[in-house]
């Protein structure tokens, strides 16, 4: 058996063993799960740079066959490093974070399940297999968001995430079928981009956009972004791994895989435009919402949304290499930020409101400094990982109105991240929890330090970049001081930071109050209304069918007609008059005689 199969088997075996045998033994489950991901990481490292494929036939029907297979190329191996690398650090962090959790075994079982599903998406050799694993990550995400299912909010959030994803996945499914119809294959390696040109831009663009629907759901783009902030109800390491670094980026990865298969030049321009604008608007809306959140995880969740918007925008601008590059750098520092917030939440006795924290820099220096590194990377300070990728995005958007939008989002990003940092880590502790906060154990701070390191060096380890060589990503290790993009980026960073310092330094409550942003543009409420109206309409129609067509017409009609015939006979034949009975009997007798004798 070739080694890549082990990448599927190890996490799957871990999940199965935990689920079937080790559920009562929390310690063994957590160690097994962690060990499995470490081994996966080592295998993923050993496969770096390889270019191979393998498959076995799963279903065969006529000329059509479905394969379960893997396809290793730079895109997949690089992505595997992100998934298993961050996965490994998150597992290690979880050993500390979930130490006292009652259902630790279930938690680690689900994490292994997630690692298995995510591996499937990354290594999938065809769209159908990717779709299957796509659903499996949705399931794992559902299980992990709802880990504390006894809390209503967590159970609701899990349900919301699952259902919202279903909407996108439905489009994805149709998109896959359309692509199959157009190119005649679902296997990435066999897809021929020229057939997209043959069917015309209208149909090809529609197919691309339908496939993109999957990314809208999974990568939480407008208008299906509503599940991601709520998904923060799950344990924080889960938010770091699934809802910041890997799963939500799967949409971008899938689009990159599509571009790589059909050739980026073959994508109809109009569908690219649509994708880019959806990404751009998402990043802007999410950044605006983030400026008024008070929950540390919610702020990070909206920032994730905003960064995902950036990636999607890059994909739409037919610069998938830039999108993947940002995915890659973002994964490390966003995981860092989430794990940092997890450490803070853990230290402050599960307090998530930043206005109840404060002064954490002195109490927990390692966490605070690594968090600052993450913040700097997210706000694109030169020489951090985020700087390079954001710069590339700005370059890709140059010459389009999206450039100004992206620059404004960068300003907002700096603003809300420094707001978070100033309020939570500087100043004086505002509440009891923050006063008592202590630095977390090494098992939790070690992943933070490693991720902080990656937040600097990640882009320079070109070998693990999930960007195929033919896409020709070239970024300069030293910024080009003459370019306007560089100065724009520096300018918005300074402006955002300055505004945040002026507004929030030394404050004990939020000087700004913009209810539109705080309430997420009231989108949840609007959706609630729309869903209520639609549901009521559907319910009314179904009620009408049930009550009047089935109840009254069919069931009621049958009984009424039987009753009617019965009534007729009763009135006619069963009237109680003796002579009438005698007459009928005589008539009957006459008829019997007539038929026996004469007929």
């Amino acid at each position: 058996m070739e080694t890549p199969w082990l990448l599927f088997l190890i996490p799957f075996a871990s999940a199965a063993i935990i689920q079937l045998g080790l559920k009562r033994n929390a310690m063994a489950s957590s160690l097994l799960s962690t060990l499995s991901v470490v081994v996966s990481f080592i295998i993923a490292c050993s496969l770096l740079g390889s270019d191979q494929a393998g498959s076995w036939t799963w279903v065969e029907a006529g000329s059509f066959q479905l394969n379960i297979g893997y396809k290793l190329d730079q895109l997949a191996t690089g992505m595997m490093i992100v998934v298993t690398g961050i996965g490994m650090l998150v597992h290690i962090f979880s050993l500390g974070y979930m130490k006292t959790d009652e259902s630790k075994a279930r938690y680690f079982g689900c994490l292994s399940m997630f690692m298995f599903s995510m591996t499937g998406i990354v290594l999938a050799s065809n769209f159908v297999m990717m779709f299957i694993f796509w659903e499996l990550v949705g399931l794992s995400s559902y299980l992990l968001i709802g880990h504390w299912y006894h809390k209503d909010s967590a159970a609701d959030a899990a349900k919301k995430a699952f259902l919202t994803n279903r909407i996108g996945d439905f489009g994805f499914m149709i998109g896959i079928l359309m692509l199959w119809g157009i190119t005649g294959t679902v296997i990435f390696a066999d897809m021929d981009g020229t057939s997209l040109g043959v069917v015309g831009t209208c149909i090809a663009g529609t197919a691309i956009l339908l496939v993109f629907c999957g990314a809208i759901g999974k990568s939480a783009q407008l208008p299906l972004h509503v599940w991601l902030p709520d998904a923060m109800e799950g344990p924080t390491p889960v938010s770091a791994l699934i809802h910041a670094a890997t799963m939500v980026a799967a949409g971008v990865y899938m689009m990159a895989r599509l571009y790589l298969s059909v050739g980026a030049d073959m994508i109809p321009a109009w569908s690219g435009e649509v994708i880019a604008w959806i990404g751009g608007i998402t990043s802007l809306a999410a950044a605006l919402m983030a400026t008024q959140q008070n929950d540390i995880k919610k702020i990070l969740a909206y920032s994730t949304l905003s960064q995902l918007g950036y990636m999607v925008m890059a994909v739409g601008l037919v610069a998938p290499e830039v999108g993947m590059f940002h995915l890659f750098t973002h994964a490390w520092f966003k995981a860092l930020l989430f794990l940092g917030s997890g450490a803070v939440i853990y230290a402050c006795h599960h307090e998530q409101d930043i206005w109840k924290m404060g002064g954490l820099l002195k109490k927990m220096p390692v966490t605070a400094i690594t968090f600052l590194v993450g913040t700097l990377a997210l706000t694109a300070v030169p020489f951090t990982a985020g700087f390079y990728s954001k710069e590339e995005i700005l370059y890709a958007a140059k010459g389009s109105p999206l450039f100004y939008l992206a620059a404004f989002v960068a300003f907002l990003t700096t603003f809300y991240m420094f707001r978070l940092f100033i309020v939570a880590f500087l100043g004086k502790p505002r509440e009891h929890g923050a006063e008592e906060a202590k630095e977390v154990a090494p098992i939790m701070s070690l992943p933070l330090v490693l991720l902080a390191l990656m937040a600097f060096v990640a882009p320079h380890i070109t070998k693990i970049l999930p960007v195929p060589l033919e896409w020709d990503l070239h970024f300069k290790a030293f910024p080009d001081l003459t370019s306007s993009v560089f100065w724009t980026s520096i300018g918005v960073f300074l402006a955002g930071g300055a505004v945040a310092f002026v507004l929030y330094s030394g404050k004990n409550q939020d000087p700004l109050s913009i209810s539109l942003f705080r309430n997420k543009f009231y989108l949840d409420e609007i959706y609630q209304k729309i869903i209520t109206i639609c549901q009521d309409a559907v319910a009314a129609i179904i009620h009408f069918c049930d009550e009047f067509i089935i109840g009254t017409l069919f069931v009621g009609g049958a009984t009424r007609s039987a009753q009617g015939v019965g009534n007729l006979f009763r009135r006619f034949a069963q009237n109680g008059s003796l002579s009438h009975y005698a007459y009928l009997m005589a008539l009957g007798a006459v008829l019997v005689i007539y038929f026996t004798v004469f007929a």
């Binding site: 008059s577 003796l578 005698a582």
Partner: protein, 110 residues
């Protein structure tokens, strides 16, 4: 001596049919239960007359078949007993309902 003219079988059957029809009409048309009962007896008599007539015209070895005529005596005997039972029912009906008019006896109505 005037010649004895033996009626034919058809004439017997005609009378018998007439009797039966009158009886049936009485059962259907009349409302008094005693009259209906009498009409019923008339229908029974019509049936007996048919039997006698057939038996008279069925020759066995040159002689009429008397078995049927014997049977009619039994029928008349049984009918007498039946009339007794029937009248007893009518009397008890009258006691129970204070009427012998079928118009008032409609409790069989569905």
């Amino acid at each position: 001596m005037q010649e004895l003219i033996l009626p034919t079988l058809n004439e017997y059957l005609f009378v018998s049919g007439l009797l039966f029809a009158i009886g049936l009409a009485g059962v259907i048309v009349r409302r008094n239960i005693i009259v209906i009962f009498m009409c019923l007896e008339m229908m029974l008599a019509a049936a007996s007359l048919t039997l006698v007539a057939f038996s008279r015209f069925h020759l066995v070895g040159g002689l009429p078949d008397y078995d049927g005529q014997m049977l009619v005596f039994f029928i008349i005997t049984v009918a007498a007993a039946e009339v007794a039972v029937g009248l007893a029912i009518i009397v008890s009906l009258y006691r129970a309902r204070q009427t012998i008019h079928t118009d008032d006896l409609t409790s069989l109505k569905g």
